[in-house]
Symmetry: D2
Subunit: 342 residues, 4 copies
């Protein structure tokens, strides 16, 4: 049994870690922190966890987390980097769901997140935790930086092309649609049902933090600086991301379907749909699955459709998938069940 | 042209007053106040009003509202009662969309709204502004207390029985369903789309401020103390109220349909549906119409279905309907257009 | 491993049986029939089951179902009664999710379902499969009639009162709100998103098949003919039922909370909330749990709030719960995981 | 008063024509046809039109439409082309909301719509009815082909660039998101609320009829063959289109905002938002307005955001706007009111 704790458990990713832990045979959450909710039962914040989680939120981890096998950070950016070094020094492994260790370059972090990085010495050690790419590096990782939700959907759409060297150095468009839970469980007027229902809007069109993260990772695998225009949109729904990725490729016509199928043949959580398909976000709701469809629309041009649940494969599920690999468990442990439809 | 001002214009009822005014041939909104938004253009708060309203919010009304024909209060309860007396003394008529002047008894107000009433001397003068009941009293009213949204739907369902003396002195159930805009444009977690979508829940089951308002008014017209159990429920939608009202009546079987049709024959905004109908909230969305259906379910028992748009007939539309009658205009002025469906 | 088959697998309850079976350690679905979809892979009808169910629909069960331990009927009413007797005669146990064996009286069935009952001789043998009431009778049952979705929510709200003899012989109101999946996966205009979103409406106000089912069962346990006015409403959401039940009781004031807690202390799927609570349908979405809250609103009068997922506790989950009890398994097998929120 | 008739009035665009006509001071709908609903009151099909439209559907137009000033076709494609020539010959003007007269080339029509064009001789005469482009040509038009909903949103986003000669001959991406009402009021399972809620999916990725229409029109104005990849997506909402258009331009950096503002300065229904804005579909719901925002994302590259109501500016409102211009009325007659929010 892996002994784990969660820092910052009142948000949606914290709640999903707790939900998924309830169905994981080898994961035991021992403590979960929250400043605002300290002393309150978890089930009061998350009515669906009544009967499934008996913990109450605590102010800080007992013994500062020493004695845990792993600590998950489900905090807003800017928190983990302050606490992670001490945990790592104490031999506790860390999985950070926030953005603190995703970018390789501390200055780029400072520029996009508006604060200096206080643990830059750990950026080199952090493993960027997209399991389909990181693979074996996770087994020995002490610090895992979980990818953002949009970057997960976009990278899984592009990696087969990038890693095979087929990605042409031409502008790429990543037009992404997300449910509102991606904005977190925060009391803001634009996220009210009365404001967000029956509505679609883009945001951050001229610059979003996830754009730099996507370009960093795709460039690393494509062998050239990827030029990606990323546009996020808010959808009138709670969960789900649909990435529509437009790219140019250099390869014989008609071979991409086979390329994608082969690329993900061993990946338990990436499902390449048959040619001509259109994946639906609901088909992965609540699950760790990414469904991908590849459409060669014109000679040398491809539209890749990629859907995930932003809170699972885009956050907490991916974190547990990484944990499974870090501790030598079955990669799918606790993550095997299908979505409920409708 | 009626010169009007709005106190408290950043909420949904303020926005609806502005929207309806844009289509009203004889109403000119001269000023709209907001503490938090003073100095900001109305169209920044309400993107749909861009091009339809050139005002900016002001901190307080120019000349404290003197010179206006009428001032609308679209404030939370507890605000109007402080400002209304001075306006009335200055000869300005007032339409209060809040709860401050709805209850006849200052002590009952204090009990349910948690503060003493500071303008109790005006409670006797205030006209309870349900136009279908108040009728001619509105023509000379100086101060109109607009009914709550739930009370509007429930009273329109019960008044034909009550006023005809057919309402039996037995427990009445008013099971009501409302869209989330009824809770206002306030940044609260339970109102987030991610929390409120795909969800139904009751609230205030053992006591809600609208219960006492409903009982006060129905009792007044029924000739006995009405015993009404009112249960509000939150629906996963923005607008609309559906009241399902269960009552006992004393009258020959099968006569209620005709009774309701006759009762509302001259009411331009109450539409009694044919026997056997089930009204839909969407059919009145954005409009000032109440649709009612009467079902005699068992001998002496009736289920009345009543739908309104909580922000229009349940608030701002009703306020303008009252204004039309106060100023001798066509009762339907500015309120005549149908809903958009779907 | 229990060998099971499903008759009529393309609807929502069929899909939920398949989903839940994917997570059940002792249940193996061997075949699933559909006339319209015969020859098609299950995953084509249910995109969420891709990778979780390798079956294709078949026209009829192999060997007419002989050799199965149990056959589930997820068909519209009027189908099971034709096929069930032969299965029972062959020693195959049957769990019918349709209405065919819910009513005790064949004439009442004929009246409400518009066709004569062709297997009336089995009505006496059928166990009405509400496990919290049926209890041990399920262990030896050959034929189980799963309750309707509304009747499940309403009965779980009333049974503690009825069985304890506290239910007064006075009119009961069961005002119920359901997501649209309750109407099945059928291509009808009123169920379109464009028609059903942002809308609430009642239906069947003067008579619904579930009313007679509810009265039959509550009367049986209350010791007198229950007089229940049941009103179903359609909500703008996919899943979930909220029953708001108004009844009169004879018992000392303030004892109902303890009564309900004691009544369901051993029921793994009924969660009595703390006094003063308001259950939310989302908290049980995708699960077999019923959450109940009891409010004594006035002396001798109670409002009971009860929420379930109409497709799980109201249909397929309850069917599997019954199966677990029929075959001596853990009552919770395959049904233990929490809802996903948001 | 313009005497008009509608052919095919039971769909959403027919309903919107009737709704908008109810608020139009100079338009009188004299008859509306429907094969399936002949003899039924319009208000039975459209509950929101009760009290606003007293017509009943008829099988065919009285006198085959002779005597009308104008006939609207709100039929599926393939119907208007059979009936339009006789009307035109009789001197009746026609506004076709379907696709029959949008494409210039009868063979292209046959290829994309799967049937030969039977009135190809009228294709040259038809005016493509995007009023912001067609302008004066509408005044004398006898036959107007209303643009598709997606093509309207995309063209309004691109025309200022195209007509000014700034559009570079490079691939353009038009990633579009639409509410489900775009698919019509047809009883299909994928359009059910239970299927379409909480879901996003693309469709027609490798070819959609609107792609050819968009390319035809943009090419005509750009002066070169536009290469546009159009991807439609289905959103979990009833109304609204959001087009996100990615293009390359040749012009000094920073001048596009002014270009767009100048281009649409006289267009009453195109609202160019301030620099840095993100338009919301809800802000135009139920209205004829298109809101546009221009973002220069990288040197020489632009992302244009464009929102419309697919049933109004994308169909029936645009048809009435065209009619206003055909008959010399105020372009905004009957189309002036703002959206209702929330």
């Amino acid at each position: 049994m892996i002994k784990a704790a969660i820092v910052g458990g009142t948000g949606y990713t914290g709640g999903e870690l707790l939900r998924l832990a309830a169905g994981h045979p080898q994961l035991s959450i021992q403590a979960v922190t929250s400043r605002q909710a300290a002393g309150t039962a978890v089930a009061e914040w998350f009515p669906h966890l009544r009967g499934h989680c008996d913990l109450s939120f605590v102010e800080t981890l007992p013994e500062d987390g020493r004695g845990m096998d792993v600590v998950f950070f489900a905090t807003p950016h800017g928190t983990a980097m302050h606490q992670v070094p001490a945990l790592l020094d104490a031999g506790v492994r860390v999985i950070d769901l926030s953005a603190d260790f995703r970018l390789r370059d501390a200055e780029v972090f400072a520029q996009w997140y508006g604060q200096p990085h206080v643990a830059a010495e750990w950026l080199g050690e952090a493993v960027y935790g997209l399991p389909e790419v990181a693979g074996d590096a996770l087994a020995s990782a002490r610090l895992v930086a979980c990818p953002g939700c949009y970057p997960t959907a976009v990278q899984l759409a592009l990696m087969p092309l990038a890693q095979a060297g087929h990605l042409v150095d031409a502008p790429i468009i990543a037009d992404c649609k997300s449910g509102v839970s991606g904005a977190g469980r925060s009391a803001k007027i634009p996220l009210l049902l009365a404001e967000a229902t029956e509505n679609v809007k883009a945001y951050g069109v001229t610059g979003h933090r996830h754009n730099v993260e996507i370009e960093q990772e795709v460039s690393r695998h494509a062998g050239h600086a990827a030029d990606i225009t990323f546009t996020p949109h808010l959808m009138p729904m709670a969960r789900g991301i649909h990435a529509t990725v437009y790219a140019s490729f250099e390869a014989p016509t008609g071979m991409l379907q086979a390329l994608y199928e082969a690329h993900y043949a061993q990946a338990p959580f990436v499902d390449v749909l048959p040619a001509g398909s259109h994946p639906e976000t609901r088909s992965v709701r609540g699950t760790n699955i990414c469904r991908v469809a590849v459409h060669e629309t014109r000679p040398g041009r491809v539209t890749v459709l990629s859907v995930i649940d932003n809170l699972v494969k885009g956050a907490s599920g991916q974190a547990i998938q990484a944990m499974n690999l870090m501790f030598g468990l079955d990669e799918s442990a606790g993550l095997a069940l299908p979505a409920a439809l409708p």
